[in-house]
């Protein structure tokens, strides 16, 4: 793997365009030392029309192509005005988070390559990270499409951290496919073009007489040469600038067709390798004994020698976040953590609780600025959202091998370049001495924007002088990990009974950490399109970053006159945001769909309550006030498909949630059963409560939807997140610590709360919107619809989500010192319920 990486890196280094321009021939010499082989192509500059691009053939024993991108990716801009009272345009109407991320990727897209090998396979090291969202499959589809090669012959792997990519190695904001859609295809098209050239030369025929099909080049006589047979003949000895025309959409056979995941077989047979599965015998299991309060620190370790002598234990070392122990098995790490006697210093949020933070948030709401007009009446509501947690099933993990003067890391990361830089800084090494290998992860939901696992692993390996296989315990994730913090929305409208005249939305939250680099970058793009913002004069502050992201994503979908949305934050860090091991406030991150699950749930609850106040049907009200035709279309479609207003028993009701993000408009309709016999159904150790019976989710689709099967999967997953966040899924803060320690405590949706009828409807592709993303958009409309349906079913709307949060603590709180629970021993006696499942619970308001 290391050898392959070196070759790829070499190829890229010879590939920087010096004088881009249409039709230029630009050769630069590249070294000739031992390439393993392959035709290499890279991405090129947009020439004329929509399909012709420039790129490079890179010197290598077989063909390597690279692409170069110009200004082609900026999405079309739309702004609409509608009756009754038009809203002022919001920033995100014209330039949203996707645009910022696409723009950030463009300058370096020419460093993306596709390589053809002598065995007939094609490879690509993607610069996005597979976290379950299916990007690996989608990119393989793009290459298979453009090159006319079966997808089974396309190998898509992760590139290691490549600092030369600057902002183009970033996975987030549902932009993975959008940002790669053109560059990857251009590189593939250049590679295929070169294979056609090579075959034409071999047969002494005109290139135009040849076609590519199923990984082979065919001539009219029916004779064929495989890509593998041509790979060496197609290679170039000097980098060469070439142009290529992309396949016309009308010829697409792969893009837009349902494609099962390329890693599915490995997954169902247990062969898919996550970081801790890797075969590195010397990298022994390592865990960290963490403080009892959030971000507490080690005062002293009182029995390190004793613990060091426990069975299996090889090392004990104090690191920034606690006391690391390395042992033969993770079980012996758990034993060692239980045996450790550590004195702790309290953390920066010691003594805080749900109620104290909620008060801080309410006290921080900025005053209203839009006054009422004569004849109008104020309508005001406040909604609180509890702390939550990313909780990917694979906790933070990493393998680290730190030696004198160098380090190599294997871990999942959505910002590998940031990870590499932070680790270098922590270890006191130059960035070039740190190799960061990206491994696909067992989920992310925003968790892998931060490198807590890799940083712990690197520090432990350095202190111990040995390779480590580091893993966070599940309880660590809840108690010291990251998530969306507590937040309070306060919304006020003025209406005259017929029309809404103005709308103000105050989103006040505990600081959300966007990490080193990413947040600053977004703030920079935000100020570039919104130069009048006061934030432009204060770009480094955490609030500037958060405000930028908020403005890039918040869309009020209804015409309600002058509309003002504002983010305010409390508990800002005292060090600059994203500093590695910044332990000066709560540990937060941009959790799936960032602010919007809360923004949209508050918005739709408010709209329901306002419609009721104004004596209007909740659907008709939304349809009438919809800000533009696309919102109206999804609202109408979801009502039709979901049979809005159909007769339902008392205690069962419908709810609708509406949102626009990532270039697509979406609406969700749910039916929720809140009848007592349902709410109080018993599952041992499980929180039941209302049951979502049916979900209909409608979304517009930006061109081009690469994999409908993957998009549907992402929406189905987002729907489960939405149900979780509305009903059960939260952290309870008490005495500066989170109480949850397991999935039974944390209560992410389980099968007993899953609807048995889920329908995802993707509308025909929208010719005006380009390259959207489906990784996140399912969450917010569903969360909103479920909350609204519960409100309607009960005749009383929830003002605190999830609804179960204040209905008691239905679990025995595990001790915080030692910080993690010991594994049970009676696993042969209790299946499937956990041995210590508390009595049948359904604690719901």
């Amino acid at each position: 793997m290391a050898k392959h990486t070196a070759h790829a890196r070499h190829a890229r280094d010879g590939n920087r365009p010096s004088k881009p321009g249409a039709g230029d021939t630009d050769s630069t010499s590249a070294g000739s030392e031992g390439f393993a082989g392959g035709l290499v192509a890279s991405v090129g500059e947009h020439l004329t029309g929509r399909r012709r691009f420039l790129g490079y053939l890179l010197a290598a024993p077989t063909v390597v192509a690279a692409a170069q991108l110009g200004e082609s990716l900026l999405g079309s801009q739309t702004a609409g005005a509608a009756q009754p009272v038009p809203s002022n345009p919001q920033v995100a109407d014209n330039y949203d988070l996707s645009d910022a991320i696409y723009d950030a990727a463009k300058p370096t897209s020419d460093l993306i390559t596709v390589q053809v090998h002598s065995d007939g396979t094609v490879s690509h090291e993607m610069v996005r990270t597979e976290v379950g969202q299916g990007v690996q499959t989608a990119i393989a589809m793009l290459i298979a499409e453009e090159m006319d090669i079966p997808i089974e012959k396309v190998n898509v792997t992760h590139a290691p951290a490549r600092p030369e990519l600057v902002w183009n190695q970033l996975t987030g904001g549902s932009t993975a496919i959008g940002s790669q859609f053109t560059p990857v295809r251009v590189a593939a098209a250049i590679a295929k073009g070169r294979l056609l050239d090579a075959a034409a030369a071999k047969w002494d025929l005109a290139k135009s007489e040849l076609t590519a099909h199923a990984g082979r080049i065919l001539r009219p006589s029916g004779q064929a040469l495989s890509f593998g047979e041509l790979a060496e003949a197609a290679a170039v000895t000097e980098n060469e600038k070439v142009s290529a025309e992309l396949k016309p959409e009308s010829d697409f056979k792969v893009i837009g067709k349902p494609q099962r995941r390329v890693d599915a077989m490995d997954i169902v047979t247990g062969q898919k390798e996550f970081a801790t599965d890797m075969d590195m015998p010397d990298a022994l299991p390592t865990m960290v004994c963490r403080p009892p309060t959030i971000n507490g620190t080690v005062k002293s370790v009182n029995n390190a020698d004793e613990v060091q002598n426990m069975p299996g234990v090889t090392d004990v070392a104090t690191i920034t976040t606690g006391v690391a122990v390395r042992a033969r098995t993770f079980g012996q790490c758990v034993d060692a953590i239980h045996a450790l006697d550590v004195s702790w210093n309290g953390g920066p949020v010691e003594g805080t609780s749900d109620t104290s933070i909620e008060k801080e948030l309410k006290d921080a709401h900025p005053p209203w600025v839009i006054p009422g007009t004569p004849g109008t009446k104020a309508f005001e509501r406040e909604y609180t959202f509890a702390f939550t947690n990313n909780a990917p099933l694979e906790p933070a993990t990493a393998i680290a091998d730190v030696k004198e003067g160098s380090a190599e890391i294997w871990a999942a990361a959505k910002l590998p370049i940031t990870a590499q830089g932070e680790i270098a800084s922590l270890l006191g090494l130059p960035v070039t001495a740190v190799t960061f290998n990206v491994i696909g992860s067992g989920g992310s939901f925003g968790r892998r924007l931060f490198n807590d696992g890799p940083l712990d692993a690197a520090e432990a390996s350095q202190k111990m002088g040995k390779p480590v296989r580091l893993m966070w315990h599940r309880a660590d994730e809840y108690r010291q990990g990251r998530g969306r913090p507590m937040q309070v929305s306060k919304i006020r409208a003025f209406h005259d009974g017929e029309v809404v005249h103005s709308l103000e939305n105050r989103y006040t939250s505990v600081f959300t950490d966007f990490g080193h680099g990413f947040g600053d970058l977004m703030a920079q793009y935000y100020t570039s399109v919104n130069p009048d913002t006061p934030l432009a004069t204060n770009p480094g502050s955490g609030l500037a970053v958060s405000q930028a992201i908020f403005e890039l994503t918040a869309v009020w979908p209804y015409s309600m006159g002058p509309t003002k949305q504002l983010l305010m934050e409390v508990r800002q860090p005292t060090e600059s945001p994203g500093t590695e091991h910044n332990l000066t406030t709560f540990n937060t991150t941009a959790m799936r769909q960032v602010y919007n699950p809360n923004v949209v749930a508050a918005q739709e609850l408010f709209v329901d309550e306002l419609a009721n106040e104004m004596g209007r049907d909740r659907y008709e009200f939304r349809r009438e006030f919809a800000k533009d035709d696309k919102f109206r279309e999804v609202i109408e479609k979801v009502a039709e498909a979901g049979n809005w207003g159909r007769s339902l028993p008392d205690g069962v009701a419908q709810g609708i949630g509406v949102h626009e993000e990532y270039k697509q408009h979406a609406a969700c309709l749910v039916e929720v059963d809140c009848r007592p016999e349902t709410v109080n159904r018993k599952i041992p150790g499980g929180t039941t409560g209302p049951r979502v019976l049916r979900v209909v989710f409608v979304s517009t689709v930006a061109r081009h939807l690469v994999n409908p099967l993957g998009a549907e999967a992402q929406l189905q997953g987002g729907i489960m997140d939405g149900i979780s966040l509305a009903q059960t899924n939260s952290l309870h803060l008490k005495d500066g610590a989170f109480l949850e320690g397991s999935y039974d405590d944390f209560r992410y949706t389980r099968q007993w709360n899953v609807p048995t009828d889920v329908k995802v409807i993707l509308l025909p592709e929208d010719s005006e919107a380009e390259v959207g993303g489906f990784g996140e958009v399912g969450v917010a409309p569903t969360c909103a619809a479920v909350a609204c349906a519960i409100g309607a079913a009960r005749g009383s709307y929830p003002h605190y989500l999830p609804i179960s949060h204040n209905a008691g603590i239905p679990f025995e709180v595990k001790p915080h010192d030692p910080p993690i629970p010991q594994s049970p021993t009676n696993g042969l006696e209790h299946y499937p319920a956990p041995a210590k499942a508390s009595e049948e619970t359904s604690l719901n308001p």
């Binding site: 379950g132 099962r260 995941r261 890693d263 599915a264 490995d266 997954i267 169902v268 047979t269 247990g270 062969q271 898919k272 996550f274 801790t276 599965d277 299991p285 033969r328 098995t329 993770f330 079980g331 012996q332 034993d335 909780a391 099933l393 694979e394 906790p395 067992g442 989920g443 992310s444 893993m471 599940r474 499980g686 099967l709 999967a713 189905q716 997953g717 489960m720 997140d721 397991s742 999935y743 039974d744 992410y748 949706t749 099968q751 007993w752 899953v754 609807p755 889920v758 993690i820 629970p821 594994s823 049970p824 021993t825 009676n826 696993g827 042969l828 299946y831 499937p832 956990p834 041995a835």
Partner: protein, 166 residues
């Protein structure tokens, strides 16, 4: 150190390890059998679900000392061999419905599903949504629950032989 012998995926093994080390770590850290995943270590998330003498169990909560020389442990890696095939019908159903997203929980989901369906078939019953509600406790944080339901029902049919190889 005590020696422990048992069978894993049809292979007789002997490990030198302390009595109280849980089977999950014996499998993963000592034997290198990494199909069973860690998600919680306390028998809640079910990501490590494997089979003990043909019935589902969670190795995170069973000390190696409780496993005897005649006991057979089957992990996801050994599941196809239990039906003498390249893939178990439940794995085929998982592929058919393209269930997985990140994939981390899916070995445990499949092992739990096979156990549930075997139990129900032994009782002469078909799997229902209510059975899935009560018995499939496995967490899927990607939220693939809906496709899991479809795959379990399909896999159950395949396990009867009606759709074998389909």
């Amino acid at each position: 150190m005590p020696e422990h012998s048992f069978t894993v995926n049809g292979r007789q093994v002997t490990v030198d390890i302390e009595d109280d080390v849980r089977m999950l770590w014996v499998l993963r850290d000592v034997l290198g059998v990494t199909g069973p995943k860690y998600g919680c270590g306390i028998n809640v998330c079910k990501a490590c679900t494997s089979h003990y003498n043909g019935r589902a169990f969670n190795p995170c909560s069973v000390p190696v000392s409780k496993i005897g020389p005649d006991d057979e442990i089957t992990t996801i890696e050994g599941l196809p061999d239990t039906v003498g095939s390249d893939l178990h019908p439940m794995q085929e159903a998982w592929l058919e419905h393209d269930v997985a997203q990140c994939g981390y929980c899916q070995p445990g989901q499949i092992m739990a599903a096979v156990d549930l369906v075997k139990k129900l078939h032994a009782e002469g019953r078909d799997v229902t949504d209510a059975d899935i509600d009560t018995n499939m406790r496995n967490v899927c944080r990607c939220g693939t629950y809906y496709r899991i339901r479809q795959a379990i029902k399909d896999g159950a049919e395949r396990m009867k032989g009606t759709k074998k190889g389909g």
